[in-house]
Symmetry: C2
């Protein structure tokens, strides 16, 4: 059968057919062995076809040895499978092949589990067919020692993990893992500490997935040893948060305030400022805190918090930060994207104080010579994953060293020391630039000819055409998001709100902001879905307080709040309230979401729309 398999079996559909022919109640172990053999054959077939994938020719001569299934290979193989099989496989590929890629970044962003579940479920259904539907696993599982488990740390040798005393062979799941090959870090050991870090795994369906791969039990002796090593929660030093926040993800913590809070306060109180962590909040002792500045001719410079505060002038900047994913939920209504389902409040405005990055770079030896070769300034956070790799990002050098760039190494937010969630003791504030580059818990600054090599710089925060999907995306083809485009949203009334006719007018409020220091110069508001427009009142301070002085050109870092009081149109039963803002480069927001939809769900800045009902019957008022 081996040769026949080699030449004919190219898909799981074929495999299912064979299995149907030969199934019996006690055939499981043999079927499993066959299945592994078939998997291997399929793998060889896939490898033979890999040459078609241009980017993979560097793998050199085709070998029948097992290679670690790197994500790119897995994706290519999935495509080859679908090419060489029938309709079922094509639909499999359409439905699922993109998903694991979704998931790769998804896990890093704290999501992706839902997609992974779908992917696994489909596969599991096929595996069920292999096992036969009537099979009951009454056979006792074999016992393995930790030593035996530890031998399985590669795709060649199989990938085993333990969970609560069970041993699981997850070799086949690796290519489907939403978190990509990070799963290999757990190979040969316990999976609990990783799940503690990436809390997205704490869902029932994840256990369901795992249970399908059980192959044995860990010896009682080794289980005892394992349990003796307490896995501490890496999120244990995360701070308390205000309960009003709407939590999009708990670990890492991602949350936004209720929208109406934003327009109630020109400066967003720190407790309500949206929070977007990529990793656990690192506990930092301010007394021993060190900031390293590298890549400059003078050699590395190390600064204490005290140095930062005392050796450099203190500057204060009012700047709005916005997550690239703000308003992502509107893109999800068009077509599912990957990422946290942010509403309209992943944006906030604060006053930041600290040393100018420019001053620090000068002190560390920056000069015209450096400008000859350097192009970027990289930042590394002190927040890290289980492998020790830290959050990272970079900004263009000219932004970092410009006197008008106003980039801060901030140690104060709204006049107090930085809260833990916002980067205590020191974060970068890059006014006008996407939140992701405003690295928190700053540990290192590197002046470089290259951008940060971090996942978040290279393969995450970028925009693509609506026609680009996870199969065709080339992250190298798009620039890392830096300056953000013009944005505005309606914070009140909320979508679905009801206004009484007796109120005679409706008060519409919101925020507007643009990246790159471009000042918002106008906000247009429509009550009729965009047919007619009126101009909103803008403000740059809280009511009753003096407006902030007009910023110098190109340095409008803070948002504007806006308001319109409009009479209720006499005959309207409902209003479609729309806002759109204009900055001083006269950039406008696009009208609709679908044409700016992108697979990562970033840069969602179409006109914001809320629907409001007018209640005619005053008797119903309470």
């Amino acid at each position: 059968m081996g040769m026949w398999v080699m030449s004919h079996v190219r898909s799981l559909t074929d495999l299912n057919f064979i299995v149907t022919l030969s199934h019996s109640r006690y055939a499981l172990p043999r079927l499993r062995a066959w299945s592994r053999q078939l998997h291997s054959c399929l793998h060889i077939n896939a490898m033979l076809l890999l040459r078609r994938c241009h980017s993979l020719t560097r793998f050199g001569p085709v070998s029948i040895q097992r290679h670690p299934v790197a994500p790119a290979v897995a994706s290519c193989a999935a495509r080859l499978w679908s090419n060489s099989s029938g309709d079922d496989q094509r639909s499999y590929q359409r439905a699922h092949s993109p998903s694991w890629r979704h998931g790769l970044a998804g896990l890093l962003a704290g999501t992706g589990a839902v997609l992974a579940y779908g992917l696994h479920k489909h596969k599991a259904e096929q595996v069920d067919t292999i096992r036969t539907p009537t099979l009951e696993t009454t056979l006792p599982f074999p016992i393995f020692s930790q030593e035996e488990v530890t031998k399985h740390r590669s795709l060649e040798d199989g990938v085993w993990v333990t969970y609560q005393g069970g041993v699981y062979d997850i070799t086949e799941f690796v290519a489907m893992h939403p978190g990509g090959d990070k799963i290999m870090l757990a190979a040969g050991g316990a999976i609990e500490p990783f799940w503690a870090l990436y809390a997205v795994h704490n869902q029932e369906h994840v256990l369901e997935i795992l249970s399908e791969y059980k192959v044995g039990e860990l010896s009682a002796e080794d289980l005892k040893k394992q349990q003796a090593v307490k896995s501490s929660d890496p999120y244990s030093s995360d701070p308390e948060r205000h309960p009003v926040l709407h939590i999009n993800n708990l670990k890492p913590f991602n949350a936004e305030p209720p929208p109406e809070i934003l327009s109630d306060s020109y400066i967003t109180p720190s407790a309500f400022f949206f929070k977007r962590n990529h990793l656990p909040v690192p506990p930092v002792d301010p007394a021993s805190y060190q900031l390293h500045v590298e890549g400059l001719p003078g050699g590395a410079l190390t600064l204490s918090l005290e140095d930062l505060k005392t050796k450099f002038p203190k500057h204060t900047v009012t700047a709005t930060l916005q997550c690239a994913g703000n308003r992502r939920s509107e893109m999800n209504t068009v077509k599912q994207v990957k990422g946290l389902n942010w509403g309209i409040a992943a944006i906030s405005n604060a006053t930041w104080s600290g040393a100018n990055l420019r001053d620090v770079l000068m002190a560390a030896g920056y000069g015209p010579d450096v400008a000859q070769w350097a192009r970027h300034v990289q930042f590394e956070g002190l927040d890290h994953d289980v492998t020790g790799s830290t959050y990272g990002a970079s900004i263009p050098l000219n932004k970092a060293v410009s006197e008008e760039g106003d980039v801060l190494l901030a140690y104060e937010m709204n006049g107090k020391e930085l809260p833990a969630d916002h980067g205590f003791p020191v974060r970068v504030v890059v006014p006008g630039t996407v939140g992701a580059r405003n690295v928190k818990w700053l540990g290192k600054i590197i002046v470089s000819s290259e951008e940060s090599s971090s996942h978040w710089q290279q393969n995450d925060y970028k925009g693509f055409s609506p026609g680009t999907d996870w199969d065709t995306v080339d992250f190298k083809s798009a620039p890392a998001i830096q300056e953000l485009p013009i944005q505005s949203a309606i914070t009140t009334p909320a979508d679905g709100a009801v206004v009484d006719r007796s109120e005679e007018e409706v008060i519409v409020k919101g925020y507007a902001w643009s990246g790159g220091g471009r000042e918002v110069v106008r906000v247009d508001v429509s009550l009729d879905g965009g047919k007619t427009w009126q101009v909103a009142q803008l403000r740059t301070s809280d009511k009753g307080q003096a407006a902030e002085p007009s910023p110098p050109p190109g340095r409008a870092w803070a948002w504007k709040l806006w308001e319109v009081t409009a009479p209720l149109p006499p005959e309207a039963q409902e209003l479609e309230i729309v806002c759109k803002a204009v900055d001083n480069s006269y950039n406008m927001q696009p009208d609709t979401v679908p044409p700016i939809w992108n697979l990562r769900g970033v840069l969602s800045n179409a006109w914001h729309r809320v629907n409001v009902k007018i209640r005619e019957d005053e008797d119903e008022e309470e």
Copy 2:
């Protein structure tokens, strides 16, 4: 009747009624006198009501003296008329009151005549009623001396002009004049030299308008003297132009190339580069040319052309210039705007060489002290109108002095000396900034705390909400256009083109550019009106030539050309081809024109759309 008139006559409708009651064949002179009296009364009524106009309270105590009807007063009065009268007057105001304002800037922009004609025609119809429809002016006109005519140079004394020996009392027309109170410059004298300058008057209906105001003949003696002073054509030194250009206005010259020429050449040949003059091309002797730099501590600096070329390093920048009115014609299809009816080719790309403005300002004494108080750099052209007032504009100081601003005092275009139409011998090139600030035939540079006070800076090139009309517009409320927003257009195929099915594919080409040095990073093209999108190939050089090196961040001054070759969709009978570009701040173009429509028709950057038919029957091919 005088008192009755004072208390009851508030509108021309009432006036028509009186006139109808009392008309007779020989009543004309008395009616005219009454008319004048009524006009005066109406004026008084208007003045009494002027206090309602908040902005005009500075006129102080109401006086029955005639005031010069400044535009603001006339507008307000028009509104008061409409408030105090019936439907006819309201419709008059709706239809026409905005028009004179349209016209004011319209004339300056070389247009507005059509609107003015409508305004006058309506008024003339009413005047016809006054004169009675049956009246024939068989009476000989009185003879006036030039001395008598010259006495009529104000609204108080009447505004008289002469034209080809006729004497015209245009007092009532002043407030309707599309060119605003510039018409007062002609008061008491011959109108021919002005019409020579503002060639928009050379249309038959303008003569029709004038003829209605004839009140006499100039004495034969004075006519002879007048004719002896030959009025030379101020456009006589305008250069020859290439006949391929599509002329939007001849005097001043405004023309654009056929769109397909743009995408045929990355660098637009100077002869095809769009031309946008506001005034006659001034003849400048390069040997005696002087550039004055003022406003700096060192006192005025005067530079010869030789100085500019030899005392400062020569820099070369490839930069795209775009008229604020590019693609205005698309706004006109929504609702008539004021301005030249530009197509999609009021944009071009050239190589410019000259001295850095920064270097020249430094040489003239610019330093940190100046930055304390200065905010703008003003430019004055050598092109001027009959009163000697020159074209002018300004840019923010930080753009002018930034090392990364790349602002040039250019004396070369595409490797040769500047052509006359492009500012010979010296123009400003402000990369990334609207064409209007790239002042040609540069005569003076002034460092100042204020923007240029020119019409074009203060009351012309600005953007407004679609809800703002000429009655409500406040030019002070909007910033002068500087950096332009993201733009793209399809140069080929042309709208209405036919593609043969046998060709199997369609090649779509175009340009894309963004202001402020923001690099175009992607162009999306749709063949189905925006439902599905593909990504275009971008290029930064002519085919077969090496691409220009990637610009430093924030200094992408030149456009990108783009191209898509797409298979003809099998079942489509026509294509709605759409393009939209994205810059590296991820600004996007708005989807549609109506929501960005503005009364001045500037900043027209919605998705560009062309419709193309697919011809199925190959037999019809020729």
